[in-house]
């Protein structure tokens, strides 16, 4: 998972205060928000922190150091800072930050931006506020404690004096960075918890929003790259005669071979550079390349699947052990066993990977890219060019979706390498086929679960083995099995109150590049767990919702580490973010209520329920489905309840749950990447379909639980419960159980 970094308030002040003592004085007025514009920071200056400038015209500039990919961070981040600062929403200006370690962790994955940085961002706002208060107090000769910040100004009630933020800038420049700041109490919030409109709404509805693929640089060439169909393959022979005769083609360049392990490096291949994208693509089609497919030439996903299923049946390495499952199986009245399979998936964001790069006069490189992690882009580009990462400037554009794909900067390194070799700025645009065939795929997985029930239908024993090739294989060629980090994603954090439990992991070798996809291993672990619980409910003759609550047991905090498991809790403490079965059960009750669980349904309809905690947030989903006359599964409606603790922007949380509903449906119904002879078979939205409007449910109803707790993640946790809710609903409607995804393979989509 992502590198975890959480600053204490003191560390925050130490780090950000180092630059000096005053507010950043931005002396230049600039036009509309441009990604990467950081000239204000070059002005004179220094900071209470790196996230806020107060200009003497009163405009508050806020740096968004995280990437916007649809989750709404460019709206939510300034909500937090502006709120603590008492800045008025119409007087703030958002600036997209460059990649720079001064911002701390910028890796926008793991649903971390709010859950890990809420305090950091509040501190940024509060320390700016306190400096302005100190400046006003000093100017007026009154105690700071008697001054308050309200509505973009500082007020002193006793004297009736007020001064706007802008008027205090020069006085504030002499103030020290406040050592200790306090946060507002929730009843004082102006923006936190409010559904502010998205900041980029106008740009996004008028064609003015800039994504990585939209970058245009003077003198720029357009590149399209043919890569070996198998990961790690190399060029055996190349004939580019036909390519060079195509009008507009300016160069053909062979990239360095892929590395082993793949890391975030380019995959190698042959690039065609041209005056426009079309000529580059035409030139690429005309290449005559013979490949040596290399070590993964034999990869066949169908036979691999059989091996993986067998691994999940065999005893694996034990990662959590409670009681004695074997004894409990021996005592059980009923034994039930099931196997689940889920294939590789591609993130397939609407904007394929794309980046532009140019070499700078000082031997550095400047890139513009739709990246989730500009610092890892800096690092990777520096490595490929053999320069220091301080010489790599990364401008972060908007991301046209990402879902984990764009946390890997291989495509950015391609652009940088080509710009250097070509002696021209270069933009690399992946085709959809490139994206689906040459990405970092979500891992294929096989799971086997066995349970023992007593005569009353109580589950007394649970043995679960999971097997999948690890994301670790992308970074370590010898990695052969699930890592502790991956097993912490919906596996060892099993919340069920079952007296005997053994969780095991089975090893598997990767033959494609494996990477993160929205909610990662939680996708398949929740699919198996939540499906199997549903199976047990029917076996016990119980209502699935009631049985789920029975398995969750009494309200308590579950600690997998107490039972021998390695568990990181998404990088945050179990004290602040417990696995709280009471809160999980409340989500189940709520979503069941919303869906009218137990109501009389139209003939042929079924309801299915699933609940899953991931990224420190619990989401429960109910699906209502039926089967059409044509034999296809119809998802009529989805209900979702989410407990994400404190919520910044309820409408963005709802939007994420709606989007997760569709994303989850896509992987439940359609999503599957297969491989033959080392090469990915699927290539575009015809062979790798995603849900369209005509399959979208009539409604996706979302309820946000009102819980006074620190924030959990939001971007990812909506996805895992969707597929099992649908599969459980399908069982309720038809009595047929499907244990592998996608449902398309069962003829249902």
């Amino acid at each position: 998972m992502s590198r975890i970094e959480q600053l204490s308030r003191r560390e925050f002040l130490q780090r950000t205060g180092k630059a000096g003592g005053g507010l950043v004085l931005a002396l230049t007025l600039t036009s509309a928000c441009q990604p990467g514009r950081e000239d204000a920071a070059d002005a004179s200056v220094v900071a209470p922190n790196v996230y806020v400038n107060v200009r003497d015209d009163g405009v508050v500039e806020i740096y968004c150091h995280r990437s916007e990919m649809g989750q709404g961070i460019r709206t939510c981040l300034p909500q937090i800072i502006a709120d603590e600062m008492e800045a008025n929403w119409d007087r703030i200006k958002l600036i997209q930050a460059l990649g720079d370690e001064k911002y701390g962790d910028q890796n926008t994955d793991g649903s971390t931006s709010i859950r890990q940085q809420f305090d950091l961002l509040r501190t940024a706002g509060a320390s700016a506020r306190e400096m302005l208060i100190a400046a006003a107090a000093a100017t007026w000769g009154v105690p700071a404690a008697d001054c308050v910040a309200r509505e973009h100004a500082i007020h002193h009630a006793a004297s009736g004096k007020s001064a706007g933020f802008g008027d205090l800038v020069s006085a504030a420049a002499d103030m020290d960075v406040p050592e200790d700041v306090s946060f507002k109490s929730p009843d004082e919030y102006r923006y936190i918890g409010k559904s502010m409109d998205i900041i980029d709404g106008f740009a996004m509805t008028t064609g003015q929003a800039n994504y990585g693929i939209d970058t245009v640089l003077p003198d720029m060439l357009y590149a399209s790259i043919e890569r070996c169909p198998a990961v790690g393959g190399t060029v055996k022979s190349l004939d580019d005669t036909a390519t060079k005769s195509i009008a507009g083609v300016t160069a053909v360049l062979q990239l360095p071979d892929a590395t082993s392990p793949p890391l975030f490096n380019p995959l190698g291949g042959v690039a065609v550079l041209a005056e426009n994208t079309w000529a580059a693509q035409q030139g690429r089609e005309a290449l005559d390349i013979e490949w040596d497919y290399g070590a993964n030439a034999e990869y066949d996903s169908a036979s691999y699947r059989e091996k993986l299923m067998q691994t999940s049946r065999d005893a694996g390495r034990s990662v959590l052990n409670r009681g004695d499952v074997e004894v409990a199986f021996g005592d059980a009245a009923t034994i039930h066993e099931a196997e689940y399979f889920a294939p590789h998936l591609s993130q397939a964001p609407m904007e394929p990977p794309a980046a532009a790069a140019r070499m700078t006069d000082d031997g550095g490189c400047e890139v513009w890219a739709c990246t989730q992690d500009p610092q890892s882009a800096q690092q990777t580009v520096a490595g490929v060019l053999g320069i220091d990462k301080s010489k790599v400037k990364v401008n972060v554009t908007l991301l046209g979706g990402a879902f984990g794909r764009k946390s890997k900067p291989d495509f950015i390194a391609e652009a940088a390498w080509l710009a250097k070799e070509a002696g021209h700025p270069v933009k690399v645009t992946w085709t959809r086929e490139d994206d689906i065939r040459h990405g970092y795929l979500h891992s294929v997985s096989a799971q086997c679960i066995k349970a023992g029930l007593d005569a009353d239908g109580n589950t007394t024993a649970w043995r679960h083995c999971t097997a999948f090739p690890s994301i670790g294989s992308t970074f370590d060629a010898t990695a052969t099995g699930p890592s502790a980090g991956e097993l912490g994603l919906g596996f060892v954090d099993n919340p069920y109150a079952i007296p005997n439990m053994r969780l095991e992991a089975g090893d598997a070798t990767a033959h494609l590049r494996i990477g993160w996809l929205r909610s990662v291993c939680n996708v398949y672990h929740a699919f198996a767990n939540c499906s199997f619980v549903d199976e047990l409910a029917y076996l016990a003759g119980a209502d699935p919702k009631d049985y789920l609550l029975r398995l969750l047991g009494p309200p308590r905090h579950v600690d997998p580490t107490a039972e021998g498991a390695e568990y990181g809790n998404y990088g945050q403490g179990l004290d602040t973010h417990p696995i709280d079965t009471g809160r999980i059960a409340a989500v189940v009750e709520e979503v069941a209520d919303m869906a009218g669980w137990g109501r009389e349904l139209p003939p042929g309809h079924g309801l299915g329920i699933a609940v899953h905690r991931s990224f420190l947030t619990t989401v429960g989903t109910v699906a209502e489905v039926s089967v059409s006359d044509a034999g296809k599964l119809v998802v009529h409606e989805l209900w979702t309840a989410i407990d994400a603790g404190t919520v910044i922007n309820p409408d963005r949380v709802k939007a994420q749950m709606e989007g997760a509903g569709i994303f989850g449906m896509s992987l439940a119904l359609h999503g599957e990447i297969t491989a033959k002879g080392g090469a990915v078979v699927e290539g575009n939205y015809d062979s790798y379909p995603v849900v369209r409007m005509n399959e979208a449910p009539a409604a996706i109803n979302v309820h946000i639980m009102d819980v006074d707790a620190p924030p959990g993640g939001v971007g990812e946790p909506g996805v895992p419960p969707v597929a099992p809710a649908i599969v459980n609903a399908y069982f309720a409607a038809t009595g047929n159980r499907v244990r592998e995804l996608p449902l398309r393979n069962a003829g249902l989509a």
């Binding site: 649809g70 064609g207 994504y211 079309w278 609407m350 569709i662 939205y685």
Partner: protein, 152 residues
């Protein structure tokens, strides 16, 4: 070979490969990047533009076929960005990443031209060629209904 066409009200002469898809002519030659590339195979609708009143997928529409025609892209759907569809999109905060929304808006505006008061089924029919990987479909439906109300 040069082709004369009108793009967003301006006459323009494009000297490019006749087979070049209108999408790349717009983006790389004319410099209008509001129209997006999503699949290149007429599968996703991200590249939708309006040609003489018809929605076309510009990624599979050769520039030669646009000769003598009027092309409208998202940049000029309205002068101030206040077409009822754009306004409704903002009222309901439809966009997530926003990338598919140029194409969605072009399709929705054309739907309302021919059917001022579409049902959900009409919307599903008209909009199923536009993929939104972020999953904004239910909001798009609601926003089209809202735009229909605002127009009437």
């Amino acid at each position: 070979m040069a082709f004369d066409l009108t793009i967003n009200g301006q006459s323009i002469s494009l000297d490019v490969d006749p087979q070049m898809p209108l999408l790349w002519a717009l983006r790389d030659v004319v410099g209008l990047t509001g129209t997006k590339f999503g699949c290149g195979k007429a599968l996703c609708g991200a590249c939708n533009v309006n040609v003489d009143g018809q929605v076309v997928r510009s990624c599979m529409f050769p520039v030669s076929a646009a000769a003598g025609k009027n092309v409208t892209t998202i940049e000029s759907l309205s002068e101030q960005g206040d077409h009822p569809v754009q306004v409704a999109w903002r009222k309901l905060n439809v966009p997530q990443c926003g990338y598919c929304q140029s194409g969605q808006i072009i399709s929705a505006a054309a739907l309302l031209e021919r059917n001022p008061n579409p049902s959900d089924a009409d919307i599903d029919n008209a909009m199923s060629g536009n993929i939104c990987r972020c999953g904004t479909y239910t909001r798009i439906r609601a926003a089209i209904h809202r735009a229909a109300e605002d127009r009437s």
